[in-house]
Symmetry: C2
Subunit: 410 residues, 2 copies
DNA sequence: ATAACTTATTAAATTATTTTATTAATGAAT
DNA sequence: ATTCATTAATAAAATAATTTAATAAGTTAT
């Protein structure tokens, strides 16, 4: 009896040929996952395999239900080829993006199409057991209300800020009060396999796979929110570092100030250039009696949210725009530093603050010109995230797909 | 007639099987290059190929003169296996490491063994035509005096500081006064294929392949000299960035000072934390009448070299040690920043300043603890370069070998 | 010494893959 | 409408690789 793909990738002692076939199938799936659909000829060229070989791999994958024949497609003349691609409904993935004051949830099919999603579901991320249980509750509710039967959901990806050990499923910044890894704990509450990921990294991956990235291979994604996170893509792969703590851009020491950062250190970039700092600066100005749209809306300074400031800026509030430009300049100096180190092809501005577009983009651009070597920064494009609020959810789903298909390191 | 390996890697339209065989041979060579010698069984396990297949690949490579049978070796019992490895004298590589005040030259065989070398050959790197011609002259002299016939030298690797476009052979910081790439110009003077590389990157690669690196895959190498350069190894591959300008660590903007850096910007790390800065600080102290070993040696402040200060420190000169600790603290803060961004497994201190060992290592370590997240910096080892002055030469040779065998991206 | 065991090498058989040839499908030109 | 040019898919043949088996070579234990 022949094994299915899933049996094959989990089998202990594969014989030489079987092992190679599994790898070839992974490559085929990976090509579909990254590029969408493809003809047999295209796959043959890409993977350096003959047409009959590709045909047999594809047929196996069709029998396993992972791949579908999507029918004929136009050609440059001559007989039309069949195109094949991932079978959209062979499985679904749930992505949960946990933010400071809300949660985004989304469900994608096998072809990374967002089937159903909830944006900005109210949730206050607090580091205690109740908050964790509330999170599980929200997930369970979403699953029970979603149009897809639970057993078709193959995995759940959860994004949290801070230090995450992706491989082991531990979170060190939130919910670290059990001996078991957090992923296992949520798994036992929900009944579906759970993978944790750092929020910025998941957003970077989402943006990389279906956002603003075209051919660029060395890409930095900045998550500008209350904190400043970064996802690093090198040679089209997410970069983790030794334990998955890479990209702690918000905590690089660049200022000589006395502000104690959330991380416990002084002088972190976040202390003056992130959403926290923006809110603090804004509050100070409010207390000094500055006039702004915020006062008209009767928001008490102690309840001021980053979102309020962003909304004010969208409505041309002068103070909001001024202060955003101020942190933009500091973020830009930080990006200049990254450009000197990475010589990246593309830097993406994401996170809630990136929705202010030109207000934050222009000061960043001028700071980059001021502080980085021109020969180097000429190489680097600067773009604003295309997926916006959805980047995290989509990235989470795609990472689960990769993990389950074992496509990580192709 | 069957083709040799070199004919095969350069052939235009390889048929499927031939193409795969070339790739397999590259993998075999790459394994030998990285790991040294190997038995057929080891290679089979590593590359997932059968014994007869490996045997035939090895036999082809032996026929091409690239691989040698090195005879029997001990086993855990049973018949002793033959080990195979790169044929040491099938070709030689010349590495030239151009420093500010001297040149290091070395010749390695195919097995990365240094056959002959000259350290600290006097040469003043100046950005003019005469300096370039002098460089070519020195290379030609070395070749004519070296024990290996010129035609056996398959390629030359030259390390220069500053921006290098490795792929195209352009140097932008030095000798950029012709339209043709610098590599072509030197090639025409010497008559052997020339590859340029950024000095810090070549040193990093040397250290990575035959220095202090064991299993670590994400490694940062710092070249602490007059300037501060960095070579980045990610997943055991040199990281270049879009055009090969990555690693400009010396020019990240971190200070609020008015010192104009060599690069034209203000506030670069180099302006206060590199050899240039150390020399300036030392001169200042000398002019203030400080007593130090340097004054005893009758070195005029205007002729003071970084080397003099390093020598003084080796001889326990208090001022030298004090000032080295001062820049060490600043370098350490920079490294803390890198650790937050990269979460590397290993940071290597190289370059001339690293020879001061503890004098620079201790302030760096304490700054790292002070300025980086402890969860992250716990992952990172800090080591001093093992190859020292030879890192650049060995790295240059190894990179030429990779380039010629097309092993770059295996 | 010899048996038992481990490992390498070689050879033969089997299986897999690629090549080549053939047939099918399609659009454009005659 | 039929033929031609082009490309795709399939089938058959040829080649290549792996697996299995057999043999040879070296170790260790009895």
């Amino acid at each position: 009896m022949t094994k299915t793909f899933f049996e094959e990738i989990n089998s202990e002692n594969p014989t030489g040929v079987a092992f190679k076939n599994v790898n070839l199938k992974k490559k085929v799936l990976s090509y579909f996952a990254n590029t969408g659909n493809a003809t047999i000829a295209e796959l043959g060229k890409e993977l350096n395999l003959s047409v009959p070989k590709i045909t047999s791999l594809i047929n196996d994958l069709i029998n396993d239900g992972l791949v579908q024949d999507h029918g004929k497609v136009d050609s440059t003349g001559g007989r039309k080829p069949n195109v094949y691609g991932l079978a959209p409904d062979s499985g679904f993935f749930l992505g949960i993006d946990v933010k400071t004051h809300h949660i985004n949830i989304g469900l994608t099919d096998f072809q990374k199409k967002l089937i159903s999603s909830v944006e900005k579901y109210p949730y206050k991320l607090t580091n205690n057991q109740e908050s964790l249980e509330e999170l599980c509750q929200i997930i369970n509710n979403f699953i029970s209300e979603c149009p897809i039967p639970k057993e078709k959901i193959l995995g759940i990806g959860i994004n949290l800020s801070g230090r995450i050990n992706y491989a082991k499923g531990y979170s060190y910044s939130f919910f670290h009060f059990h001996e078991d890894p957090l992923s296992k704990i949520i798994e036992s509450h929900v009944g579906i396999k759970v993978f944790l990921e750092n929020d910025s990294r998941a957003m970077a991956y989402g943006e990389f796979c279906s956002g603003v990235v075209n051919q660029e291979k060395d890409v930095l994604f900045l998550n500008l929110d209350y904190g400043i996170g970064m996802g690093i893509m090198i040679n089209s792969q997410l970069y983790y570092g030794k334990s998955g703590y890479s990209g702690e851009f918000g905590h690089i020491p660049v200022f000589r100030n006395e502000i104690i950062c959330k991380c416990g250190k002084k002088g972190c970039l976040e202390t003056e250039a992130a959403g926290w700092a923006l809110v603090e600066m804004f509050k100070e100005r409010l207390n000094e009696g500055a006039s702004t749209l915020i006062t008209r809306e009767n928001i008490a300074p102690e309840n001021l949210l980053l979102e309020d400031i962003i909304n004010a800026a969208h409505n041309d509030d002068v103070l909001a725009i001024e202060l955003i430009a101020k942190i933009g300049e500091k973020i830009g100096k930080g990006i200049a530093l990254l450009i000197n180190i990475f010589n990246p092809e593309l830097v993406i501005l994401g996170g809630s603050l990136s929705s202010t577009e030109e207000y934050i983009l222009l000061p960043i651009k001028s700071a980059i010109n001021k502080y980085s070597l021109s020969l180097v920064n000429n190489d680097t494009q600067l773009k604003v995230s295309k997926l916006g609020e959805q980047a995290g959810v989509i990235g989470a789903c795609l990472l689960v797909r990769n993990k389950l298909l074992a496509l990580e390191h192709i």
